[in-house]
């Protein structure tokens, strides 16, 4: 009786106290990662949240720091290419290219035209593969798993061709100072032109690119036309162009902010000026636009590849280089438009067989420097859309 009344009043009072306490919530520190699947490796975010809204985000890195800059100092130039493959493992081949070109410039060597064409074709194939991975994982993380199957199927075609040429799917280690490696199985007689690319590579690549282009049309509807993707990405993660430039954001993330800057157009590290292609840009600079730019870039890469196959010159795969590679004293920085942005190596040579110092400029690290400012004020579910749209790989961040 009275006890029941008392109990009732007490409960009522408690709930009122609870409500008033809840109204003055305290900020909570939420630890996201390093094992979260949307962090593309081992990125940890220490977020201060007020309800569902992020107030401050501190990325914590270094779980995958392998010290490649130090390791490069104790390896010969030829051995470093095996190392740099593993920086951004989604586009391993493209990481090798600026390194060997920087060493070649220091030595005064230039790769023969055919080797340059092969480098260019394989770089573009890795760009297709990288962007297809993006188009598979990005919608999947947002709750649209269907495009995954389509994108991975096409990526497999591209990887099979890459494997046919280089022998490796992820880590081709195919570049040599002065050219590219003679193809697998060539043996001592590899110098005849017919043996340097596997038989059927050119036709197979044409077929694969036609298939990729068809799938791009499918993906256009499956990803960009997908209501789940649209609702979760349009207007999310806005990155103003000035901030992107100030922080060194490059690649598709910069082009999605409306800056038509592409190193393939302004630098001459590979003969891109011989081919006709467009720089894909967007204007809204949100997660949706970053996705759209990448889909457009697959089509442009397919365009470049088909032109390069048409004009593939014949000739040797290797320039004449000494058997023991010694690089004269000097400093050289070469950058390349990698699938994820500007990838560059500043090689400081002391004149020996090993570099004196190698500074690795990786795209993902610089692209991530805007992350705290992008996430401030965003909602917790938007973290996944924003992280995914930047397209980074932790190996490329930590090096």
């Amino acid at each position: 009786m009275t006890t029941a009344e008392e109990r009732y009043l007490l409960a009522k009072h408690r709930s009122e106290v609870a409500v008033s306490v809840e109204l003055q919530t305290e900020d909570m520190t939420l630890n996201i990662g390093p094992q979260h699947p949307s962090t593309h490796g081992v990125l940890r975010l220490v977020a201060t949240v007020a309800g569902e809204r992020l107030e401050k985000v501190q990325p914590v890195m270094g779980y995958m720091h392998r010290g490649y800059e130090k390791l490069a100092e104790v390896r010969t130039y030829a051995q470093v290419t095996a190392l740099v493959n593993r920086i951004d493992w989604i586009s391993g081949f493209a990481n090798e290219v600026p390194f060997v070109i920087a060493a070649e410039r220091l030595m005064g060597v230039e790769a023969p035209e055919r080797a340059q064409w092969i480098r260019l074709i394989l770089t573009e194939m890795f760009r297709v593969s990288n962007h297809l991975i993006f188009l598979c994982s990005f919608p999947a993380e947002l709750g649209a798993p269907t495009p995954l199957m389509y994108a991975l199927r096409e990526r497999e075609r591209v990887l099979d061709l890459i494997e046919g040429v280089t022998g490796g799917r992820f880590h081709p280690n195919f570049n040599r100072i002065g050219g590219v490696k003679p193809a697998a199985g060539g043996g001592g007689k590899q110098k005849t032109v017919s043996q340097d690319l596997p038989r059927g590579f050119i036709d197979g690549t044409r077929r694969a690119m036609a298939a990729v282009l068809r799938t791009c049309d499918d993906l256009e509807g499956l990803v960009l036309g997908n209501e789940i993707v649209q609702q979760r990405t349009i207007g999310v993660g806005y990155l103003p162009a000035e901030r992107a430039i100030d922080h060194g954001v490059s690649g598709p993330n910069l082009r999605a902010a409306g800056v038509p800057f592409d190193l393939r157009k302004v630098d001459d590290y590979l003969p891109y000026s011989r081919f006709d292609f467009d720089v894909v840009t967007a204007t809204n600079s949100d997660a949706y636009d970053r996705c759209r730019v990448r889909l457009g870039e697959i089509r442009q890469s397919a365009r470049i590849i088909s032109q390069a196959l048409d004009s593939l010159p014949s000739g040797p795969l290797q320039a004449k280089v000494p058997r023991v590679i010694k690089v004269p004293r000097g400093e050289c920085y070469v950058r390349a438009e990698n699938p994820k942005g500007e990838m560059g190596y500043h090689i400081v040579s002391g004149g020996g067989r090993r570099p004196y110092r190698v500074k690795i400029r990786s795209a993902s690290f610089c692209n991530l420097t805007v992350l705290p400012s992008l996430l401030e004020g965003a909602l917790i579910p938007d973290i996944i859309a924003i992280l995914g749209s930047l397209d980074f790989v932790l190996g490329d961040v930590d090096r």
Partner: protein
């Protein structure tokens, strides 16, 4: 440039014909007395006192912050090879690379720090992107960036001692176990002695 380690030292190989670099132009803008454009890499050298000022002057033309790092110039190395030929002037060189996002122009700005006074003003007030790069250079080389808004480690775990990218810092894995790859890089006197001998590589 007159430094012994200058890229255009006589030991350097002849460079193929290349379009002229704009290093002199950037040197004038940055107020730098020395510049070089060997190997198509434009580089200007400013004194430490003018480090931030030079970046401020260049920012209007080169708004893209590409990277920042350092080089430990040392004749005594615990790992790798020392510089061949003349000894270098021992110092730490801080380098940053600035670029534009239209014509593809770029320059490397460099300054020297004496080994006993590794302090330099932070660029994070000029370029937002410098923040993380300075944190990396700070822990890897032991350089203090004065005025840095968040001077904490970026990669190394708490309690890590030493600055791994210094030339005096040994590669601990090799101290424990010799590297098998070292066999392949042993000197080959017969080939090295034959000057100008060029063999087709990769066969």
């Amino acid at each position: 440039m007159s430094e012994p380690d200058a890229p255009d030292s006589p030991a350097a190989a002849p460079v193929p014909e290349v379009p002229p670099s704009r290093a002199a132009h950037w040197a004038a803008l940055a107020g730098a007395a020395e510049w070089s454009d060997a190997f198509r890499t434009a580089k200007v050298r400013v004194p430490r006192e003018r480090w931030v000022e030079a970046h401020r002057a260049l920012k209007a033309h080169l708004p893209f912050f590409s990277w920042l790092s350092a080089i430990d110039w040392s004749n005594e190395v615990a790992v790798g090879d020392p510089v061949e030929g003349d000894p270098v002037a021992e110092r730490f060189e801080v380098i940053s690379r600035l670029a534009d996002v239209s014509a593809g122009e770029a320059v490397i700005v460099s300054t020297d720090l004496p080994g006993d006074d590794l302090q330099i003003d932070s660029l994070s007030g000029v370029y937002g992107g410098a923040n993380w790069h300075e944190r990396e250079a700070a822990e890897m080389f032991g350089i203090t960036f004065t005025g840095h808004p968040n001077p904490v480690r970026i990669y190394l775990p708490d309690g890590f001692e030493g600055n791994p990218l210094r030339k005096s810092y040994p590669l601990l894995a090799r101290e424990v176990k010799p590297w098998p790859g070292a066999v392949e890089v042993a000197p080959l006197p017969a080939v090295e002695g034959a000057a100008g001998e060029a063999k087709e590589g990769g066969a």
